[in-house]
Assembly symmetry: C2
Homo-oligomer: 205 residues x 2
């Protein structure tokens, strides 16, 4: 790309370092900012800087938070003994949007992945085991994605907490609500048959 | 979306104001920045702010520039009498990357579009007519996109400069190099037959 301006080149380079954004898209975004009032660029820059510099991690569940304890952990109406283990804060947002869960979360910050060099020590696993050891948790719900890394992480955590007497569960895998059986992959369909539930139970939701 | 942090929500909202970026993509980008060193966010914000506040428009061709005159206009090796009329600075970059043009540009800043409320007075048309009237231009090459708005703009400019004795041309429309004829749209194919060139001329490129 031939840039007529170093400032433009620099801005395009910085924007194109974001994941999934190539040079052409970066150029389109940057030229859009140039056509908008300069306040828009100011607000965008400030919002990113404020977030990066001032955001905190909840010291209990490791969710992103503005305070030391996040809104969920500090909510007295939530059942603190039921904890849902998730990979990422996006998973917290996804589960929260269902309004079906009234316990707390524990955000691992990723999955065990030897290929990417992520081991148990890089994740919030030790802190989870501590919570279990202290008797703070009655039920642990595993809600990691069902990939090889997710299963490995589930199993690793399970092995660490096996000796403590707590309930463990994992979220149900099956055919999405509204999906046609004919188009489902066989692994999912197989699991949904193996893990079938009483019909009367399905009427409750 | 349920955000656990106002700072996060604010950053996602600002990023999702960019064209083609929805809330989910904005969240992905913002969370990526949080995982990176904070310098990266600083560099990004500063690059955008510097660009927005300090970038100039070349006073001759209206291209984006760091100086009053852009690199192209201030290059004595370029033929200043041949001017290529383009819509946007991206078109300048596209033509420059071909290394096939050695004249100057004139960036209109858009196309005449009554639907979007863009009239001739919103574009750099008057300044182009002035250049022609002063006798600065020998040949004008129209290189706008071949849409209704592009054709309208071409025609509007043509009517304004008709009375001056200069050459006018338009870039060739035809089948892309390497494309199969069977998949070309009929308008393009039709034009490429009407505007055929001597075979000997095609050997020169």
């Amino acid at each position: 790309m031939d840039f007529s301006s170093k400032l433009l080149e620099n801005a395009v380079n910085e924007v194109s370092r974001l994941p999934g954004i190539g040079k052409q898209t970066a150029l389109r975004l940057v030229l859009h900012l140039l056509k908008q009032p300069s306040e828009n660029t100011k607000y965008l820059s400030e919002a990113l800087l404020h977030l990066r510099n001032d955001v905190k991690t909840c010291e209990k569940c490791f969710n992103i938070s503005d305070l030391i304890l996040c809104d969920i952990c500090s909510n007295p109406k939530r059942i603190s003994e039921i904890v849902c283990v998730v990979e990422d804060i996006r998973d917290v947002m996804a589960i929260e949007s269902t309004s079906q869960f009234n316990g707390l979360y524990h955000v691992l910050g990723g999955k065990i992945s030897p290929i990417e060099g992520i081991g148990p020590q890089n994740l919030q696993i030790e802190s989870l085991v501590q919570k279990v050891a202290k008797g703070e948790i009655r039920e642990l719900i595993f809600a990691l994605s069902s990939t090889m890394e997710g299963d490995t992480t589930n199993f690793y955590i399970y092995k660490q907490i096996e000796k403590f007497e707590i309930e463990t569960s994992t979220i149900a895998r099956g055919i999405s609500v509204g999906d046609e059986l004919a188009y489902a992959d066989e692994v999912t369909l197989g699991r949904s048959i193996l893990n079938r539930i009483p019909f009367s139970q399905s009427l409750k939701v």
